[in-house]
Amino acid sequence: MSKLLNYSLKRIVICAAAVLVCVIPIYYVALSRLWQYELDEHNVIITPEAGREDKLLIIGAVTLLSALFFAVLLLALILVNRILSRGMWRPFYQTLQQIRQFDLENPDNIQFDKTNIAEFDELNESLRKLLQANIAAYNQQKEFADNASHELQTPLAIAQSKLELLSQSKALDNEEYSLIEAAQSALTRAGRINKNLLLLTKIENKQFADKEVIGLRELLNELCVQFSPFFEEKGSELKVTINAEPTVNGNKILLEILIGNLITNAIRHTLLPGNIYVTLAAGRLTVSNPGAESLNKAQLFKRFASASHNLPGTGLGLAIVKQIVMRYQWNVDYDFAEGYHHFILCFSKLKEVTAQ
């Protein structure tokens, strides 16, 4: 890829070379004619050897002269081109710099100066409009994240509370109560999907503060305590192997959600009792659970891809995992080996490369 400044220069050099190539024979023919004419005019006769010698001299002199002029011309062209281009393209580079610094989180720091060149002013104006549209869309989306929760959670809360009041009614029989219970569980699920969608939007909007050093060992231990009631009930175990003491930079809540979702996913898709293994090594965390056959890797991390009637999850758990991983430029991978699903979380892409 060539730079804009060099782009015109290259063409000028090629053009000058072509001119030189064309000019040499013209010079040569013109000069030999002139010389021949002068010889005839003054009736000068020279031997063929002398003629050949002079011819070579002429070719040499013409070539040298042409090359000299070519060099001077080229130098002048380069100089002019440089001075002109510098001035001409300055507004372009300024604009480029501005766009590079642009940050959706902080949209006020962008300011296009007036350039007095119609094309660049037009470009800047179009860019300004484009960016403004983006900023507006972004703000709207952010607002949506806030409002949607209010707008949807409230009717959900109303419906849930009404069902709870209804279930207090003395006249209910078994069948009516089970209808209420079914409606309640569907509502709970809707509420959960809503919460998860909002979480996804918030991660996408980068609405989580960052930069906290988190010890993964402590985090895993906390999660184990949280999940232990489920394992105790099912007679299975969460087996944690810790081979290293890694720390990562990030938001603690997001990291808890990330690992929590992987473990939840493992529990959800294991026919219990079956042990779930979590292995922590330097820069990577693996969650493994027994399974019958390999899953579809391409669909795995997509929204609502895994939601089914048999396993009524929200279908968003792994999409959230993917989003968090992308947020921190980590990597998550899936593998199936010897009857186990493995979800491998690499905390740094660089480390993974050096490990291989």
Binding site: S149, L156, E232, R268
Partner: protein, 224 residues
Amino acid sequence: MKILIIEDEIELAKSMGTYLSDESYLCEYAANYAEALERIDLFEYDCILLDLMLPGGDGFQILEELKRQKKNDGVIIISAKNSMDDKINGLRIGADDYLAKPFHLPELAARVYSIIRRKSFGSTNVIEQNEIRVDVLGKAVTVEGKQMVLTKKEFDLLMYFIVNKNRVISKAALAEHLSGDVAALFDSYDFVYSHIKNLKRKLNDAGVGHYLKTMYGSGYKWEI
């Protein structure tokens, strides 16, 4: 005991009021910012249930006004925004608790109860129901003078039932009360059943009457 419900969704406010209204609670309502401020100026409440987004103003401003007037009312924020910032902000300004929508009414009752008890009874925080005596602060249960050994989860369950006495509580509400957000990740509430089973056995062994009843297989009721 007076409770003020500041909530612009009338249907939700009515549900909360209906559930909370019993012999010891009197509920009053405010549907917007101005109304809420007026009521706070005029009356004292044992507990205020405060929605954050209100017509005419922000719930946080009401919270600040309460603190400015140096009122001692207990405040539970009830908000649709389940964001950590709002939680921290609300608790920092001086709210006592935070409940995200949608919530279970028994959970609301339990939170209100614990705030009112903390505010009004100070260190002597003992509940008596027939032969059961619960020391809320010491987390100890005695039956006719004899101590009952309960795990933390069983104690939590018992408290939840006592607070919501004579009401049907669904397994979902119990599960969420026992393990918070983690319960929301699962669809099976079997672990609730086993805690209930243990609690029932211990109550029976201690000679407590048959108050804890199973309703239609999917809910429970503490009948006194």
